[in-house]
Point group: C2
Chain length 298, copies 2
């Protein structure tokens, strides 16, 4: 008999696969579920057990992790047929859901309250920053919201997937913090694109900006990683999709509206991403935004 | 007889004082000039010689450093009565001016061409990033423009004041690079202010954002240094003045206009700084911009 909690992981995608593998390697009993079951193979090789449904997974697990693409997917997985809520009808009070998806803070609060009300199961929203590389290296920064008891209960397990878990407040606070992160990243992306374009038009080699500005107040991972791609016009392999950044920044500006908080920088950046998306770039690498500035869309 | 070049330093202000002191400590013969001669005292204590005028200083020196507040001051010091150009009438071809001021790239090119034409003296524009702390620690990042021969000649001397000197191109390229730096810093300042305000209105402790986002794509010196000040509403001691940032970003947007380069992020940030300036904050710390977002101007 182990005193380790039994774990479940739903959503074995680009992020979920390396994250759940870390939990298998740490010696936990892990049950896994994915809409496309073929993606479970590397987890089963690592000793995980395939669950028939989110409900079955939740019945077996003490802590259920989710890592899905959007709010609608979370609603379906938790409250849909054979969902987490159904699996938590018995013993729900002893279980916690840890949601690593980046979704709406208001939907998070609503779903957390409903799950607690219907089953007693706790909810910790724990969106991640650091991308696929951070997931693979377990160097993610995770920002979370939820009841302190739930957060401290899951902390030792989550610690296997991240460099740092910061508890920011009640349910939804993790999602708000992730939106703050995305506002800074998207605005930085946009100003870097306009900087690269201005530098080029003014006759300097934009590829040397990261070196020239390194260590100063303008330095950041986006400066060091985005600018060389922008300057070279090389966008492969992609880091991600413009559509994902646009979804996040639109969620942030929705939050700004609902809170009466003006976001002039973020809304400007959002409209630039939308312009780029309108040119057919929604599924392209975000750094291709530089092409909008450079009159290179034709 | 030493084979070290004789140096001159004009402009002993917040930045120029620690920078010129490093040159004295490195064992160079340093001649100094400042409009307000009382500010020379610490330099004279360190072995520097007071010059009667920029012209006299230039006659004595092989390399003349300037660190002034704006384009008009540079024009006056170089081409005004008893200025650098007058001092370079004899032996100008053997001398180089290294301008650490942050001024207009177009004015830099014009003045450099005029000085070369009238006297043969070279011009390296070498604006700095890193602030007073960087000047004191000799950890500045310096980005420069000029002829390669001039840059390599002054590099060993400039190395006493900085961590890195990056040669970006011909005259003016250093100033363009500095403007790129300022665009990123000012846009980051603005998006951080709106992030702090949104976080607060959405019920999370903005003071914890630096910890939660550390090491990720949103991390930067401004995140770590500006956000705690913004969150606490503590703006002392000041880093600098809103007016200086506004001057720099307006110079950048002028460059954008002249080059046909759209700068939607930088112009939005510039107008926010201008709004704040209009409320009487031009001589205040830039991070007070958060008050514009927070409805705390009354």
């Amino acid at each position: 008999m182990s005193d380790k909690p039994v774990l479940g992981f739903i959503g074995i995608g680009l992020m979920g696969r390396p994250m759940s593998l870390h939990l298998c390697k740490a010696g936990y009993e892990v049950h896994v579920f994915n809409r496309t079951s073929a993606k479970l193979a590397p987890l089963l090789d690592a000793g995980a057990t395939a669950a028939e449904s989110p409900a079955a997974l939740t019945r077996a697990a003490d802590i259920v992790f989710t890592c899905l693409s959007d709010t609608a997917s979370m609603e379906h997985v938790v409250f849909g047929p054979d969902g987490v809520a159904e699996g938590a009808k018995e013993n729900g009070a002893g279980k916690v859901l840890v949601d690593h998806s980046s979704i709406r803070p208001d939907a998070t609060r609503d779903m957390a309250a409903r799950l607690r009300g219907e089953t007693g199961m706790g909810w910790v929203d724990a969106p991640v920053s650091g991308g696929v590389a951070g997931a693979e290296e377990a160097s993610l920064a995770i920002m979370c919201g939820g009841d302190a008891g739930d957060v401290e209960r899951v902390r030792p397990v989550v610690g296997n997937m991240c460099a740092r878990l910061t508890h920011m407040g009640p349910q939804g606070a993790g999602q708000v913090t992730k939106l703050c992160n995305q506002m800074v990243v998207v605005c930085t992306l946009a100003v870097l694109a306009e900087t690269v374009n201005l530098a080029r038009k003014a006759g300097i080699d934009a590829a040397r900006l990261p070196e020239a500005l390194a260590g100063g107040w303008a330095d950041s991972k986006p400066l060091q990683i985005f600018v060389p791609r922008m300057a070279a016009g090389e966008f492969d392999p992609p880091f991600g999709h413009l559509a994902t950044m646009l979804k996040d920044i639109d969620t942030a500006t929705d939050l700004g509206r609902s809170q009466g908080a003006a976001l002039p920088m973020s809304t400007t950046a959002a409209e630039l991403l939308r312009l780029m998306g309108g040119h057919g770039f929604l599924d392209k690498e975000p750094t291709e935004l530089v092409r909008l500035y450079q009159d290179l869309l034709r």
